[in-house]
């Protein structure tokens, strides 16, 4: 007891000192805030936008590391995809369309930032074909765009014979053709896309042109995000301002909270940028999340001030009382809200961590700014403006709707408590069912609205082609035999040679010539060894040459054995998987090494379809591929296999980037491997953007659950401590429990995919719902003490405290309506759900809590009466 009193006294002195400082030295308070804002705002120009969904995974995440390793090993570049769609009867294979396409393709190749040698288009790729005399011909597929329909048909026939191009470069229906533009860096892709868009009208083509590809979408998203931050956030601020003015009818009074909100947002964003963090889709929403939270505390102060202040009162005395009175609930609501957001730091997703950390910090900052700035600000207002504000509020409250409706709501909730409890239980049950229906799914392209040109391009191109979304199934040899084993097996040769007086051992000590990395790499060691033997062989006499050749042959044999992806049975296994995936209908197309081998083999043999098959032995495969490399683009082979022929990439084209789609494909491959085990010595792994999406979304879901549960536990403990009562602790948790269940139940029922913005809303719900409950219960306990009766106390709750809660809810909910006009879906989502959250948590607080409190009371009272 004593310590409690002591603590209370201490808290009082802190409150006192704060208010005193604010009231006596308002200019110092203003100056400090202004300085902080200026310093932080000055850092804003350093802003860098980050729109890469890859960054949802930390830089050292194994899946991301592997993805980038695969990108490097197989020289897979980020691609901008340009698609041309002809709506004429003859489709895209007509001279005009092909001329336009070729012209555009050549122009794109000349753009800076394009890896022109790797560009894929009809005019940049090779054709392998038969000539009438039975000769094989390697030539550009379409060096010159056709001038006649006959020439166009020749191109069509050629493409239909090249499985790597068919339905990738030209759609199966012959209506659409694509240009795949590899970019040096994703950062240029928006700029490149803009340059390409400028070129299109000058083609005077009647075909529709579309531009898509993940890098363009990402970059475009960044640009629009920037616009969004510059327009939507201030618009939301303006809406909040107008609503507050509607409630308080005093511009000077409303400016106070707005200054707090602005200062909070500017300082937090400035710090975020100044500390070198990039602005990701999540952090771009910090302003939008912080503004309502920053306004909430001030609204409580203003609401109570407006109720207590009578004309002629000493404003300073009233504000001191108000702040002292609200200090503890505000501190606790700030801590609990902050806990909700800090808990996001438990998720494994870096942008969400940063988002949580900076909002958590912003909440504390807003609390400090509120208790320092608002008293200072109000105390410096002219008595006339205070009086006119007072008059306006009283006028409004006399006839205000809140004044009329809140007591009615109160009576309904208290008298009809059984009905209310029944309704809420029913809703809770329905919501729980809804939660089980939630579909976890995100696709960065869906961050754009349905009618956005990126979405249209995405839809059109995926309708025609095998798919613009990539997943890579990588087959790798698990390293077995190493250097030691090799030396063991080479021993007989070396010893035989030794008996003949020839020392081969110096050759095997080639490690001195190797870098550290190569020394550990058996493949490099073997290569150096065979080169060295070959060199020595050149100057050797006949006796020595005999043994050197023996050793060289052995080395060659070992190396041949290691080239797994030249073996027909391995390639056959890959073909089986390819067919299985295509038959499932889930995969548009699988591009892989067997296609290359079979195509070359067919043309080498006869050109007939019956010869579209794998050679009978590994040497045949190697020789066919040697021919493939005698083209204009030998490098294309290395997209499918590494030069040591020990890993191979199967490129799956999917028509959607939904992670559910990808998850099904993964399951499909797993089931195939169960039925048809991987060839010996191989293991499989996934890479590609579609796969990374699956990984980070899994991480998001489990991470969010952890974060929600842990913050729930912390907030509950805090509530028990704050109210020094288990009962009140539980009561305080009820509104947020209900709201979160209700909101996620709604998402489940509506069928909205659970994506990232939806995921982080749980933190906001937790923070805001508990705010209302704290204020409600804290005030209720005061009234209860004051009136001695639960019913009376509850009725009093529907006066000023009820109004404060309702005002807050309305300000925040309606204040974010400008978000509904945003061009980017995540912002709209946040706007819609913020409104629902506010409505749900305010209603829960104002109906469920009174019903429960009254429910317990009645029974007690009855017992007493009996």
């Amino acid at each position: 007891m004593e310590t409690n009193q002591l603590q209370a006294a201490e808290a009082k002195t802190i409150k006192h000192r704060v208010v005193e400082l604010a009231l006596n030295r308002p200019k110092t308070v203003y100056a400090v805030i202004l300085l902080m804002v200026m310093v932080c705002t000055a850092m804003m120009p350093l802003l860098t936008i980050d729109t890469d969904p890859e960054n949802m995974l930390s830089i050292d995440d194994p899946a991301r590391v592997f993805h980038n390793q695969v990108k490097r090993e197989f020289a897979m570049h980020d691609m901008v995809v340009v698609g041309a769609v002809s709506n004429t009867d003859q489709g895209i294979y007509n001279p005009k369309s092909l001329q336009a396409l070729a012209k555009l393709s050549s122009q794109i190749q000349n753009l800076d930032g394009v890896i022109s040698t790797d560009q894929m288009a009809l005019n940049t790729v090779d054709n392998i074909s038969q000539e009438s005399s039975g000769t094989i011909r390697f030539q550009w597929l379409m060096k010159h765009a056709p001038t006649t329909q006959q020439q166009s048909d020749t191109v069509r026939n050629a493409v239909s014979r090249l499985p790597l191009l068919q339905n990738t470069l030209v759609s199966d229906d012959g209506r659409a053709a694509a240009i795949y533009v590899p970019v040096e860096s994703k950062e240029y892709s928006y700029q490149l896309a803009e340059q390409i868009r400028m070129m299109i009208p000058k083609l005077y083509s009647s075909d529709e042109y579309h531009i898509t590809g993940l890098p363009v979408a990402e970059d475009q998203f960044g640009v629009e995000m920037f616009v969004q931050m510059g327009i939507a956030a201030p618009m939301a601020g303006l809406a909040i301002f107008l609503l507050m003015w509607l409630f308080f009818r005093s511009i000077p009074l409303v400016i106070g909270p707005m200054i707090v909100a602005m200062a909070t947002v500017l300082i937090v964003m400035g710090l975020l940028i100044g500390m070198g963090f990039t602005v990701h889709i999540m952090s771009s929403m910090i302003a939008i999340f912080l503004m309502p939270i920053a306004v909430v505390d001030s609204t409580h102060i203003l609401s109570e001030f407006a109720d207590r202040y009578k004309p002629g009162d000493d404003a300073k005395a009233v504000i001191t009382k108000v702040v002292e009175h609200l200090f503890t609930p505000m501190l606790y609501t700030s801590i609990t809200s902050a806990v909700g957001f800090f808990s996001l730091m438990l998720t494994p997703i870096p942008p969400v961590k940063i988002f949580g950390a900076f909002i958590g910090f912003g909440i504390f900052l807003a609390f400090l700014l509120t208790i320092f700035f608002i008293p200072a600000y109000i105390s410096r207002m002219k008595p006339e403006s205070l009086a006119s504000m007072q008059a306006a509020i009283h006028r409004m409250e006399g006839e205000g709707r809140l004044n009329r409706w809140l007591p009615i709501l109160g009576r309904l909730s208290i008298r009809g408590r059984k009905f209310v409890l029944l309704c809420f239980s029913g809703l809770l049950a329905v919501s729980i069912v809804g939660v089980t229906k939630i579909e976890i799914n995100d696709n960065p392209v869906n961050w754009f609205k349905g009618d956005h040109e990126i979405r249209i391009a995405d839809r059109v191109l995926n309708e025609h082609f095998a798919g613009t979304y990539d997943a890579w199934l990588v087959l790798k040899t698990s390293e077995q035999a190493g250097k030691e084993q090799f030396l063991q097996k080479a021993k007989p040769i070396i010893e035989h040679a030794k008996n003949k007086g020839i020392d081969l051992t110096p050759l095997l000590l080639t490690s001195g010539l190797l870098t550290d990395e190569q020394q550990t790499d058996f493949e490099s060691w073997l290569q150096v060894l065979s080169t060295n033997i070959d060199d020595q062989l050149f100057d050797a006499d006949d006796d020595e040459a005999l043994w050197l050749e023996e050793l060289l042959n052995f080395t060659d044999q070992v190396r041949e054995q290691r080239r797994l992806f030249l073996k027909p049975d391995v390639l056959q296994w890959m073909t089986g998987l390819q067919n299985y995936l295509i038959e499932s209908g889930l995969v548009g197309k699988v591009n892989a090494l067997p296609d290359v081998v079979k195509t070359v083999n067919r043309e080498l043999l006869s050109g007939n379809e019956s010869d579209f098959k794998l050679p009978a032995n590994a040497n045949g495969v190697a020789q066919a591929l040697l021919q493939y490399q005698s083209s204009h683009r030998p490098q294309d082979l290395w997209h499918f296999v590494t030069p040591d022929y020990r890993s191979s990439l199967m490129w799956l084209q999917l028509t959607s980037g939904d992670n559910q789609h990808m998850s099904q494909v993964i399951a499909l491959v797993d089931s195939y491997i169960r039925q048809h085990p991987l060839p010996a010595g191989l293991e499989q792994n996934w890479a590609g953007k579609a796969y990374l999406n699956v990984i980070w979304q899994d991480a998001m879901v489990s991470g969010m659950l952890d974060s929600l549960l842990s913050s729930f536990a912390v907030v509950f403990l805090m509530m028990v401590v704050l109210f020094r009562s288990l009962k009140y602790g539980i009561l305080a948790m009820l509104p947020l429990t209900f709201t979160i269940t209700f909101i996620y139940g709604l998402i489940g029922w509506v069928g909205k995919d659970y994506d990232m913005p939806i995921a982080v809303l749980s933190a906001l719900t937790l923070g805001l719902s508990v705010d209302f409950a704290i204020h409600f219960l804290e005030r209720f306990r005061e009234f209860h003490k004051q009136f001695g009766s639960v019913t009376e106390a509850l009725q009093a709750m529907y006066e000023e405290p009820g109004r404060a809660i309702t005002r807050n809810a309305i300000v925040i909910a309606a204040g974010f309506t400008p978000l509904l006009l945003a061009p980017l879906v995540p912002y709209i989502t946040v706007g819609v759900f913020l409104a629902s959250i506010m409505a749900a948590s305010a209603l829960t607080t104002l109906m469920l809590l009174p019903a429960l409190l009254a429910f317990g009371q009645k029974e007690k009272a009855q017992k007493v009466r009996i």
């Binding site: 020289a75 005399s133 000769t135 094989i136 070959d534 060659d556 032995n617 020789q623 490399q629 005698s630």
Partner: protein, 265 residues
């Protein structure tokens, strides 16, 4: 056919003619002589080549082959055979070429793994030679008459020429500049520029020697600067004027290589 790029001091041969070569200022003449020095040394020749192909990531591949060449006439048609020995899974693969400057070459291919002899249609000569940074044309020789040559300057050591293709459609470069050694007439450096005016490809000679009186290139490297790849070609076992019989340059040699001439010694 680096063998071939080895130089003969041609018809006139001999050091005495060097004096005339040195004083030459006519660009086309220099190129004509360089072509002879590089691709027509001796009446015939053999060489063993090893190509080390290095990609942008530093990964290497090897190609090893032995070449036989016989000139039908100086500066005119040539018969060539290329026998692959490594990587071991392409061993036995043979190219047969009848080179006809100013005309389409005749080319055949033998693939032992498929047991197949196939005629290759003469197409573009600027395609990769078995996956290396060398083009087919770098190995067989580019027709001196395909480009217009201008002598830029004559330094102590080099003739510096710039060349522009007569038919820009058939090549990927806009121009190239070559440094031709005044003494040996071997081009020691060639730089290719694309239509954007960027230097994107270069050939450098790293090692030369004189064999049987002919200046020869022992090591040369072609780098694709745009892609970050390069190929080093090393030549060994070079011999000229072996008296290679005309008969071995036939289809029969594809399946049955003339081992006598492929042996080092």
């Amino acid at each position: 056919m680096r063998i071939l790029r080895t130089a003969l001091f041609m018809i006139v041969a001999a050091a005495t003619s060097l004096a005339t070569a040195e004083s030459t200022t006519d660009a086309s003449d220099i190129v004509r002589r360089a072509n002879l020095a590089y691709y027509y040394a001796g009446a015939d020749g053999r060489a063993e080549a090893r190509m080390k192909i290095v990609d942008a990531q530093g990964r290497t591949q090897l190609r090893q082959f032995t070449m036989l060449r016989r000139d039908q006439s100086q500066g005119g048609n040539q018969d060539m055979l290329v026998f692959f020995s490594r990587p071991s899974d392409v061993r036995g693969t043979v190219f047969r070429v009848v080179r006809q400057p100013g005309n389409e070459d005749d080319r055949w291919l033998y693939l032992p793994g498929l047991d197949l002899v196939k005629r290759i249609s003469a197409g573009d000569k600027r395609t990769s030679f078995v996956g290396s940074d060398f083009f087919y044309e770098d190995v067989s020789g580019r027709d001196p008459n395909a480009d217009r040559h201008t002598l830029l300057e004559t330094t102590d050591k080099f003739y510096v020429l710039t060349s522009i293709p007569k038919d820009s459609e058939s090549v990927e470069f806009a121009s190239y500049q070559s440094w031709i050694n005044r003494e040996t007439l071997l081009p020691e450096k060639v730089e290719f520029t694309n239509s954007k005016g960027q230097l994107y490809r270069q050939m450098e000679v790293l090692k030369t020697d004189s064999i049987q009186g002919y200046p020869v290139v022992l090591q040369a490297k072609i780098s694709n600067l745009a892609r970050g790849t390069s190929t080093l070609m090393q030549m060994r076992g070079i011999r000229f004027d072996l008296g290679l019989p005309e008969g071995i340059f036939s289809e029969r040699s594809l399946r049955t290589p003339p081992t006598q001439w492929l042996r080092k010694k």
